[in-house]
């Protein structure tokens, strides 16, 4: 009897699942998604070229940061104990921060993710707290200019995370706002 009940209940569950509705996409969504994809895809390709053109390539052996034009050379891998480099910005005034990564070897298909603190935006990416690029990196120094805008006087820590295959490295940049 119990098996009979279970079978009937299973059947009811299956009928409910088969009948489980899902709304269609909004009429304009597909067209808008296509436009955004081609626009964003082109922009990412440009970013890829920008990074590659400057020599991209970090991997696990990133060695240096250049902040606001000041080069901080360090032949060792940065670690969490090192002093975190910082930059001071004025509220609502765009400031370009140049990040330089140096890699001992060329790397294909690396992923660079920039995570922004609250109140700091990357120019061209309003409202986005995390921006990801796919890039190929060459041996040598790789420059990534980031134009930041402070929307609040709070500041915080910007993280740049580089991933390649199973390796990753995160770099920190303190952002102070005056």
């Amino acid at each position: 009897m119990q098996n009979t009940d279970t079978n009937r209940q299973d059947q009811e569950v299956l009928e409910l699942l088969k009948d489980y509705p899902m709304p269609a996409a909004d009429a304009a969504f597909y067209d808008q998604a296509l436009v955004r994809a081609t626009h964003e895809g082109s922009r990412r390709q440009r970013n890829k070229w920008m990074l590659t053109g400057f020599g991209a390539a970090v991997a696990a052996t990133i060695a240096a940061w250049m902040i606001g034009g000041m080069l901080l050379n360090d032949p060792q891998l940065p670690d969490a104990e090192m002093t975190i480099p910082g930059v001071t910005m004025a509220l609502a005034e765009p400031r370009t921060v140049n990040l330089v990564f140096a890699s001992a070897t060329a790397l294909d298909s690396a992923t660079l993710t920039v995570s922004l603190p609250d109140g700091i935006e990357l120019s061209g990416f309003p409202g986005q707290r995390e921006i990801t690029w796919e890039t190929s990196l060459n041996e040598g120094k790789n420059l990534l200019p980031l134009t930041l805008v402070a929307l609040t006087p709070v500041g915080g820590e910007l993280l740049a995370r580089l991933e390649h295959e199973d390796r990753d490295r995160t770099f920190r940049l303190r952002v102070d706002v005056t």
């Binding site: 209940q9 299973d10 409910l16 088969k18 899902m22 709304p23 996409a25 994809a37």
Partner: protein, 179 residues
């Protein structure tokens, strides 16, 4: 190839699969905003791989796999719980558009209540179980197709399907939706 030609070529490749991809995004995420984000991210990724895409024999299957991987990557990256709100749930707002009505309002209401209970029950499953049961029992994917999409062996898919159904039955019996 010019940018305009690239865009056109891209559209020809991906547009025929939009409905299938949108359905998959919905079933994976369970919410409109997240489904649209996932769909959008897939297109951006696919456009950046246009050179590869034109060479693929079955772009639809490839796009589905990329979407699933994006979903998994996103889930791992943020390790966040699936948010489920009335506004973005299957029955809120736009969700009603997907529910064909009858001329009998009492029947419609009963059906809405049952679907609402199923919605809540599905939200109590793990993502792994929810996705498998929705792909198989709602979308009609074969076990082998789920294996191909997710990379999960058929045996594991079967096991998850069995557990997901059992859990749904347990929840729906307990709240009186089925008896």
């Amino acid at each position: 190839m010019s940018t305009a030609e690239q865009s056109l070529a891209f559209e020809r490749l991906v547009r025929p699969h939009f409905d299938r991809l949108y359905r998959l995004a919905w079933r994976l995420t369970g919410a409109k905003a997240e489904a649209e984000d996932l769909f959008q991210e897939l297109l951006v990724k696919a456009y950046s791989k246009l050179d590869d895409l034109v060479e693929i024999e079955e772009p639809g299957s490839w796009l589905c796999r990329v979407m699933y991987n994006l979903f998994i990557d996103e889930r791992r990256r943020f390790a966040r719980q699936r948010l489920h709100t009335v506004d973005e749930g299957h029955l809120g707002g736009d969700g009603l558009e997907g529910l064909p009505g009858t001329e009998n309002p009492v029947l419609d209401n009963e059906r809405l209540e049952r679907i609402n209970e199923l919605d809540n029950a599905l939200a109590q499953l793990s993502d792994d179980h929810r996705v498998v049961v929705l792909l198989h029992d709602t979308e009609g994917y074969k076990l082998s197709e789920i294996e191909e999409l997710t990379g999960i062996p058929v045996g594991t898919v079967k096991s998850r399907l069995h557990r997901a159904r059992a859990r749904l039955r347990e929840i729906l019996v307990a709240n009186g939706t089925i008896s």
